[in-house]
Amino acid sequence: MRALVALLLPHRWKGQLAEAERLLASDGPSPGGMGAKLDAWLASPAWEVRNAAVKLIASLRNSERYARLLAILCDRAEAGIVRRNAAEAIARLGLSTPPARAALLRALADPYWEVRVEAAAALAALFPPAEDVELALLQLLYGQPGRSARRVREANFEVRMAAAHALGHLGTSRRAFDALLALAEDDSWLVRSQAAVAIAHFAASHPDLFAEARDRIGAIDRLSEGCVSYFVHREVLDSVLRAVGEGPQALSPERLRPLYLNPKAGWNRVRR
């Protein structure tokens, strides 16, 4: 109902939103009376205003309202994007407290996928490896513990990517490694790519698994449906501009030689 009212009467909150966005854009110190304003905005019927308030709490490092971020993250009635930004704000603020950890672990089971993504990312950024976090991440992937490590249930590729990243950081046991191996066989090249890095990350802290990790990474399917255009001319120009920007001493023949295009070698075989 609140959302419907906000949708039908958007102009009522335009002023608040504009002010919040102006504050977000400026890097200056927190203006006076911000606490009352933040409270008013957090109670706004328009989710865009509450969202801006959540971002402002992180941007202004308003420590008195950190607890509100945790409450918003756990409130399933709150708009998905606001919950997502609350998780992101927790990571940005570096809130590595036990209540934040509990809220983020709970958010891994959030029905909205963007919240699960941000919660996994925040856990990876804030906390050290731990068995309960590993279990929560496995539950995120498989739905329930004890499922076959090859049958990932999570349908959203972004969540699988975030889980791979988090398991690489937070995994403690062979179970995490097996889950990463399963993600390395994912249909999406984005997940396979992410899993490859995460396996290497995991292996760095588990030397006993290093040889297996190396072999498994080597065996990951290289098929990719993604290909990013590479504009040779732009790359050359940027490199030349970087060198010129560093002053005449940077314009050494060694630095400039690789930038010349060699027609015999083919312009598209320029060193990248």
């Binding site: 949708l7 969202n51 708009a79 998905g80 606001v82 449906e225």
Partner: protein
């Protein structure tokens, strides 16, 4: 203008060819294509020199900064070749042709104004305000209503003009003056849907060409007396409508010529100049051929793109406060999932061909 040569048939027999829409259609395709290829480098150079360059933008986190600086307003090239071919090969005394030429000019001007503002302000967010664009589109819809639905100016019988042709409903649905509202909504939808689709190299122009081809085929079947009498497809006869096939052919040639420069990696973007014009032209064509619903089938890509944007923006973000798709319009969602631009564009072209075939299949569904 060449249409007038048919009057000199007695002096030189082959001039009778200029009386046939089939011959003039071929001429229109070749002319539009040739003009595009000849003018293309010149117009691109001019756009580059005058700083008509695309401003970098972020689509919901999807960075397309690598395309920043590509000349934009390439729609001018498409419109120039379209007008050259249409003025040369169409019967300019035909009212339908004049209406659709006016649509091209009007929507092209709105788009150009929008593009110029964006370039001047160095920001994609600071073009023509959205409500102004809607107002301009609604204004055109109102003018079309007056021209199309009132007896003195309508090229068709007003009762026929106010009837919505629906596949499997032989008599169609007579909307009366409610059709005026439909026309306005239709013009706004068609114009904006192409505008939303224009987000990747070659993505809008090819589905636009396929819709033009489908509407051209319908224009022939409902407007050519001999074919209409022979085929008995169950449509109302629309006098003068077959002339629109020449215009559609010119649009195909202009689209192909533009694609020559717009294929990935693009040398020029059509900008709003091209996308609003293309949408406005296709919507007006569909109204004139009385195949409004066919537009939604043949232009299925436009429906998917506009529909995904609407669902994301109004139902997802505004009402529910969450994303429904990874990104919108839908091509950005596919890009976000790791598909390369050429793959997405090629698949959309395949889909637009399928949609065109489905639309043509409705010829027999009366």
């Amino acid at each position: 203008m060449l249409y007038l040569l048919r009057h000199l048939e007695s002096a030189f027999g082959p001039f009778r060819l200029f009386g046939y829409w089939s011959f003039r259609s071929m001429g229109a395709v070749v002319t539009a294509l040739a003009v595009s290829l000849l003018l293309g480098p010149l117009i691109i150079r001019l756009l580059r020199r005058h700083g008509a360059r695309d401003q970098g933008r972020t689509f919901g986190g999807l960075n397309v900064a690598s395309k920043e600086g590509t000349p934009t307003m390439g729609g001018l090239l498409m419109l120039a070749s379209l007008f050259a071919a249409a003025l040369l090969w169409c019967n300019l005394a035909n009212q339908q042709v004049r209406i659709v030429l006016a649509a091209a000019l009007y929507f092209g001007s709105i788009g150009a104004w929008d593009d110029i503002l964006k370039i001047r302000h160095h920001s994609n967010e600071r073009g023509l305000p959205r409500h102004w664009k809607y107002a301009a589109q609604i204004a055109f819809g109102l003018v079309v209503c007056v021209l199309f639905l009132t007896a003195p100016s309508s090229p068709y019988d007003p009762r026929v003009a106010r009837t919505l042709v629906v596949p499997l409903v032989p008599q169609g649905i007579h909307l009366g003056w409610g059709y005026a509202l439909f026309v306005i909504v239709f013009v706004v939808l068609s114009s904006n849907s192409v505008n939303l689709t224009d987000g990747l190299d070659g993505l809008a122009v090819v589905p636009g060409m396929s819709v033009a081809a489908v509407l051209g085929v319908f224009a022939v079947f409902v407007g050519d007396e001999a074919l209409f009498a022979a085929l008995k497809l169950g449509f109302n006869f629309l006098p003068g409508c077959s002339e629109l096939v020449v215009f559609c052919a010119a649009l195909l040639g202009a689209g192909a010529g533009f694609l020559w420069f717009n294929c990935h990696p693009a040398s020029v973007f059509m900008g709003d100049t091209g996308s609003l014009a293309l949408g406005g032209i296709l919507g007006t064509l569909a109204l004139l051929v009385k195949q409004e619903l066919v537009f939604f089938i043949a232009g299925g890509i436009f429906v998917v793109e506009a529909g995904s944007s609407f669902i994301q923006d109004y139902i997802g973000l505004k009402l529910l406060g969450r994303r429904i798709f990874f990104r919108a319009p839908y091509h950005h969602s596919l890009m976000h999932q790791g598909y390369s631009e050429t793959k997405v564009v090629t698949r959309f072209w395949i889909l637009s061909a399928i949609f065109a075939v489905m639309a043509l299949a409705t010829l027999k569904l009366r």
